[in-house]
C-alpha cells in the first residue's frame, strides 16, 4: 500500500522531500509524495481539486523566516492579533481539507522562536513583539491539535531548542536558495516526520528492554555489592537516578519495561527490593530476565510473552558488544548507541525520540499504579497557602537509626562533602566510618528523609562518642537538601535516647566555625543547650517532657 503524502511549504523543500521518501522506505513504508507548489499552502488546502485534497497525510511546513516577513507587513496596531490571524488561516484551511476527507491527517509544523533582537527579553512583556506572537501562535496550534483528532504538530520549535539553531538552519542556503533546513538537519527532520506518519499507521515502539549494570545503575552489582552501586547520591548516581525517572515515566505512559541482564537473578533483583535510592521497582517491569545466556536468546524467549513484534522494541545497553549482538540478530530492534559518559545519556535519549506516541488515553496510565503520588507534587506546591501547610502536605517522614554497613559509603561521602551544616568539620575516611560499626564507645545516628514525592535518602549523621559521663557530639552533619524541615529536633530526640541508653548524664556539643558553616551556629542554643567554655552542654535531668525517652 502506497501512502499518499502532500508536502506544502513556503520554502524550498526538495531535499527534505527526498529525505522523507528515503527514510520512509528504510522503515518499510512506500510513500507517494507530492510537493505542492512553492508558497501555495492555502490554495492547496482550500481547493477541492488540489492534489493535497487526495492525500492521506498533509504536512504543512512554514518557516519562522517567512513568518517574520508576514509579521513585518502587519500594521503595528494589529500585531497583538497576528498569531490569532495566522493560526485561524491555517486552521480554517486544515479544517476545510478535513471536512472533505475525514480520514486525512494534517501535520502542521510549529515555528522556531527566533530570538527577537528588537525588544530583547522585554519582548515577553510586549504583546506586539514577534517573539510573543510566535509563542502565542505555537500555543494556538497546540490547542488546535489537542481538539482536532486528525490534527498533529511537528514540533519544529522543540527540534530547534534541542539541536540549536546553528545546526538546524544555514543562513547561506536560506539566502541563496530558500532552504530553511540545513543539509545536516534534513535527515533529522525527515526522521521525525516519518515517525509521526508511521505512528499513525500503527507502527510505534512499545517496549524498552534495559540492561542493569552500568545502565540502570553505576557499577556491577555482582562485584561492587548492593551498598556500592552508584545510584541516588552516591558518586555519579544522579545520572542513573535521572535515567530511572525517565524510564519510569515511559512505563507510566504505557511503554512495557523489560530487564535483560547478565547476572545472577537474585543479585540483580536485590537493588530493586532493597536499595532505598532505586526509583524503579520490580513491579514496574513486565518481564525480568537475569541469567548468563546471550541476550538475543533471552529476547527471543521474552517476545512471545509480551506479544509484540521485534520491530516495536528498543534495547538499551551500555556495552557496545551487547548492542552489536542484538543488532545483528534483530535488525528491526532499535538499539541506540548510548554515549559512554552516563551523564550524556538522558539528553541523548530525549533528543533521539524513540517513543513517538500515536495516541494517549487515560487508560494508558491507569495500568500504572504509581502514577498518582508524583503527579500531584506540583499541585501541592502551588495550592499550599503557607510554608507550614506545605510541609504538612508533604507528609514528611524522618527516620533516625543506627549506622549499618549498607550506609557506610553514603555516610562517608556526606562527611566528605558537607560544608555548611558541619559543626566540627571532622572528615572521616571510609575505613574510619566502617570501624565505627563495631566500636562500642561510639554511636552513629543516621537520618533518612522522605516526603510523599521523593526519597532523599541519608541526609543527616551525628557521630557520638562516649566520654566518661557525657555523650560528646564529635560531629554532626546535614545535607543542605534537608534544611528547614525540622530535622534537628528529630535528631536531638535520637541523641537523647542514645545518651539514656549509655546512661550518660549530659550531651556535650561543640561548634567550630569555618568560612562556610554559619548555618549550624545556633543549632545547640535553639535545642536548649547551655553555653559553657566554648562548649554546649545539655543536662539530661533537664529533658523536657516532649523529648523524654519513652
Amino acid at each position: 500500500m502506497k501512502v499518499k503524502v502532500a508536502l506544502l511549504a513556503d520554502s524550498a523543500i526538495q531535499f527534505l522531500s527526498r529525505e522523507i521518501k528515503k527514510t520512509a522506505a528504510a522503515a518499510g513504508l512506500e510513500l507517494d509524495l507530492y510537493e505542492g507548489p512553492f508558497g501555495q499552502i492555502q490554495p492547496e488546502l482550500l481547493d477541492p481539486t488540489s492534489r493535497a485534497s487526495d492525500a492521506d497525510f498533509v504536512l504543512i511546513l512554514q518557516s519562522s523566516e517567512g513568518l517574520f516577513r508576514r509579521y513585518c507587513s502587519c500594521p503595528p496596531a494589529q500585531r497583538a492579533g497576528f498569531a490569532a490571524e495566522v493560526a485561524d488561516g491555517l486552521i480554517k484551511g486544515a479544517s476545510a481539507l478535513l471536512e472533505r476527507k475525514a480520514d486525512a491527517r494534517v501535520i502542521v509544523s510549529n515555528f522556531p522562536e527566533l530570538p527577537d533582537g528588537i525588544f530583547g527579553h522585554y519582548a515577553n512583556k510586549t504583546e506586539e513583539s514577534f517573539l510573543y506572537q510566535v509563542r502565542q501562535l505555537n500555543l494556538n496550534l497546540t490547542h488546535w491539535s489537542r481538539g482536532e483528532s486528525n490534527g498533529f504538530i511537528l514540533d519544529f520549535a522543540a527540534l530547534h531548542t534541542c539541536y540549536g539553531s546553528s545546526y538546524m538552519t544555514r543562513p547561506a542556503l536560506w539566502i541563496s536558495s530558500g532552504i530553511v533546513i540545513s543539509p545536516d538537519a534534513t535527515p533529522l527532520v525527515a526522521g521525525e516526520v516519518v515517525k509521526i506518519i508511521s505512528g499513525q499507521l500503527g507502527r510505534a515502539n512499545k517496549c524498552l528492554i534495559c540492561d542493569l549494570d552500568n545502565t540502570l545503575w553505576g557499577g556491577v552489582i555482582g562485584d561492587d555489592g548492593l551498598e556500592n552501586i552508584k545510584i541516588g547520591n552516591l558518586g555519579i548516581g544522579r545520572a542513573f537516578s535521572e535515567l530511572q525517572l525517565w524510564v519510569r515515566e515511559l512505563g507510566r505512559r504505557g511503554i512495557l519495561l523489560v530487564v535483560c541482564s547478565k547476572n545472577e537473578e537474585a543479585l540483580a533483583k536485590e537493588p530493586f527490593d532493597r536499595h532505598p535510592d532505586m526509583i524503579l521497582r520490580l513491579s514496574d517491569f513486565a518481564a525480568f530476565v537475569a541469567n548468563w545466556h546471550p541476550k538475543p536468546e533471552n529476547i527471543r524467549r521474552i517476545q512471545p510473552l509480551l506479544d509484540i513484534g521485534y520491530d516495536s522494541m528498543v534495547f538499551l545497553d551500555d556495552e557496545p558488544a551487547e548492542r552489536l549482538a542484538v543488532k545483528m540478530e534483530f535488525p528491526m530492534i532499535q538499539v541506540p548507541d548510548l554515549p559512554k559518559d552516563p551523564a550524556d545519556r538522558l539528553s541523548f535519549l530525549r533528543a533521539v525520540n524513540l517513543f513517538e506516541a500515536s495516541s494517549f488515553t487515560p487508560g494508558d496510565r491507569e495500568r500504572h499504579r504509581h502514577y498518582q503520588a508524583e503527579s500531584q507534587r506540583e499541585s501541592v506546591r502551588t495550592s499550599a497557602a503557607s510554608y507550614a501547610e506545605y510541609l504538612e502536605k508533604l507528609n514528611l517522614r524522618i527516620e533516625v537509626g543506627p549506622l549499618d554497613a549498607l550506609m557506610v559509603p553514603r555516610v562517608f561521602q556526606l562527611s566528605q562533602r558537607s560544608n555548611q551544616f558541619n559543626l566540627r568539620t571532622v572528615r572521616y575516611s571510609e575505613a574510619a566510618v566502617r570501624a565505627m560499626l563495631d566500636d562500642a564507645s561510639r554511636s552513629v545516628l543516621v537520618a533518612r528523609m522522605q516526603d510523599r514525592f521523593e526519597d532523599y535518602g541519608i541526609i543527616s549523621v551525628a557521630f557520638l562518642a562516649r566520654q566518661s559521663e557525657a555523650l560528646f557530639v564529635e560531629n554532626w552533619i546535614t545535607s543542605c537538601r534537608a534544611f528547614g524541615r525540622g530535622l534537628e529536633k528529630v535528631m536531638f530526640e535520637a541523641m537523647i535516647a542514645a545518651a539514656n541508653r549509655d546512661q550518660a548524664k549530659r550531651i556535650v556539643g561543640e561548634y567550630i566555625p569555618t568560612a562556610k558553616n554559619l548555618v549550624g551556629k545556633d543549632v545547640f542554643s535553639k535545642l536548649g543547650f547551655q553555653h559553657a567554655d566554648n562548649l554546649w552542654i545539655y543536662e539530661l535531668h533537664s529533658v523536657p517532657n516532649e523529648y523524654r525517652a519513652a
Binding site: 526538495q14 531535499f15 543562513p171 547561506a172 542556503l173 539566502i175 541563496s176 536558495s177 532552504i179 543539509p183
Partner: protein, 97 residues
C-alpha cells in the same frame, strides 16, 4: 638561497596550474559521487556540459565539496558559481586563508 616565498613568486603560474589540476581532480571525484557517473571536470565545466548538474543538485554538489575540503561557501558564492573553475578557485583561496 631563495626563500620559500621567493621561490613561490618565481613560478606563480606553474604552481597554480598544478594546484588547480589537483583541486579539479578532487572536485571531479566529489561530483562523480553525488551525480552517480564518472567525469573529469575542467575549469569551464558547467551545468550545461555536466549531466545532472541542475539548480537542485548544485546545492548538493557544493555541500559535498564543503565537506570534502573542509571549507564553507558564502551565500554569494553558492548563488553565483557558474562553472567548476570558479568553485575550485574559491576552494583554493579558502584553503590558503
Amino acid at each position: 638561497m631563495l626563500t620559500t616565498s621567493g621561490y613561490m613568486n618565481s613560478i606563480p603560474s606553474q604552481m597554480s596550474t598544478v594546484q588547480r589540476e589537483e583541486t579539479l581532480a578532487a572536485l571531479s571525484a566529489v561530483f562523480s559521487n553525488v551525480l552517480g557517473h564518472p567525469m573529469v571536470l575542467k575549469d569551464d565545466s558547467n551545468a550545461a556540459s555536466v549531466k545532472g548538474w541542475d539548480s537542485l543538485s548544485h546545492i548538493e554538489l557544493l555541500v559535498a565539496a564543503e565537506k570534502r575540503f573542509g571549507v564553507a561557501f558564502t551565500s554569494e558564492e553558492i548563488h553565483g558559481f557558474v562553472n567548476a573553475g570558479e568553485i575550485a578557485k574559491a576552494i583554493e583561496s579558502k584553503l590558503r586563508e
